[in-house]
Symmetry: C2
Amino acid sequence: MAKNSAALESWRVGRKLKLKDLDPGARPFAGSSREADDARLDELAIEIDRLQDLLYANGSAGAPPKLLLVLQGMDTSGKDGTARSVFSRCSPLGVRVAAFKAPTEVERAHDFLWRVHAVVPRSGEIVVFNRSHYEDVLVPFVERWIDAAERDRRLGHINAFERLLHDGGTRVLKCFLHISKAEQKERLQARVDDPAKRWKFNLGDLATRAKWKQYVAAYETALAATSTAHAPWYVIPADSKTNRNLMIARLVAEVLKGMKLKAPKPDFDPAAVKIV
Amino acid sequence: MAKNSAALESWRVGRKLKLKDLDPGARPFAGSSREADDARLDELAIEIDRLQDLLYANGSAGAPPKLLLVLQGMDTSGKDGTARSVFSRCSPLGVRVAAFKAPTEVERAHDFLWRVHAVVPRSGEIVVFNRSHYEDVLVPFVERWIDAAERDRRLGHINAFERLLHDGGTRVLKCFLHISKAEQKERLQARVDDPAKRWKFNLGDLATRAKWKQYVAAYETALAATSTAHAPWYVIPADSKTNRNLMIARLVAEVLKGMKLKAPKPDFDPAAVKIV
């Protein structure tokens, strides 16, 4: 089981990306025992909660930190499950999930980043994007509503936007949940078969699945063009939920630890205050 | 009195700007008779209303147009008066003014463009910014809360942001209301003397006035760095309110006319519909 940061960094997206060279079934961060993995994940979730508490406490400080975690991936790749698992020990007070569906009429009446900018983290907050502005360079391009020139313009806008967030004190961390087409088949079938999960399925998912190759190509272009020093992408082998959760929890914990947060200094003398 | 577009273009800001070479008392767009000027301004306001109606009607069309008018200038330069005058004939349904004051706690908890992006025009809308994101490269720089490097980073973010709006179908038009220090003295004194205007005055205005030269220099840098093809700045000689209003009304009317708006085609056959 990989333990050090270098192992995480080897999954960071560089200037070129070929997803077929990366095994969705890999489990570099999972061990041989389910129990040990679960225990490790809970340890990480507790550590993330401690760090998130510190982040929140620093929300009103001079250069207040924020964290944006972007989750992208094909249908059933586990975006919702990741958010549940990684932040299972955190209070919702400081962690917020923003999910992006097909844009509404009001959203379409603005530039594509308008609805996204509105919900970015404020100081002291962690925000998880379940889907994101990256949908706007994937779906419309694969569906041919926009051409490559417009796609590239949008990629440029995305880089500028994420640089703005970064310069404003936001750490931007982006994870691509990488599953195989075979794994998706099983998960979609489970959604169809299980009455409790059926609401998650709609027939449009099959049309998207039929364009698997085009989506893989669109992801490769988008991720390689936007994996920057200030907002890197990581490919997360996600056929194994355990590996996916452990890997993203590790990434989040490392970014939070890297902020070197300390409890803010009180603006009073604790020794001089007696509660009566 | 200047009438053609070339005359307007001569006030467009290029790569360098020296405000002292531009006379705030100039009246290139005002005539010799007050009555004729008033009549001309009302004609323009009526034309702007007609064009704004068309813009609104096209709000749901395929590539829906929008207009953002940014007004900046020293205290008393007439930002509010301009908005009243130029859009005097328009319905508030399609024209909205967004005024920016010192940022609130929630606004400060985000990047400086967050509160600005939230209120940009939607399709079919005209929005007037009374002050704007440019305050964030003026006040903090003059007050030395940020250095030149941070100011320059922000200018880069502003250019990228305005390019995003432009690519999303928004025409961005920016006017610097150029008044002299002597004219400001009279207008501030009038605010102090007139009980009905007194609420507009606060002592902080005097501290800002005392830094006139620094603000002029900060404006020169900011305007020259952000007067782009997609979002040009115009210097508006504004000691004369008549000149200021006529010039900005002319600019707005020309931009709207340039959109070549037509009434949207009905999605029904008018001949086939009989209201009974």
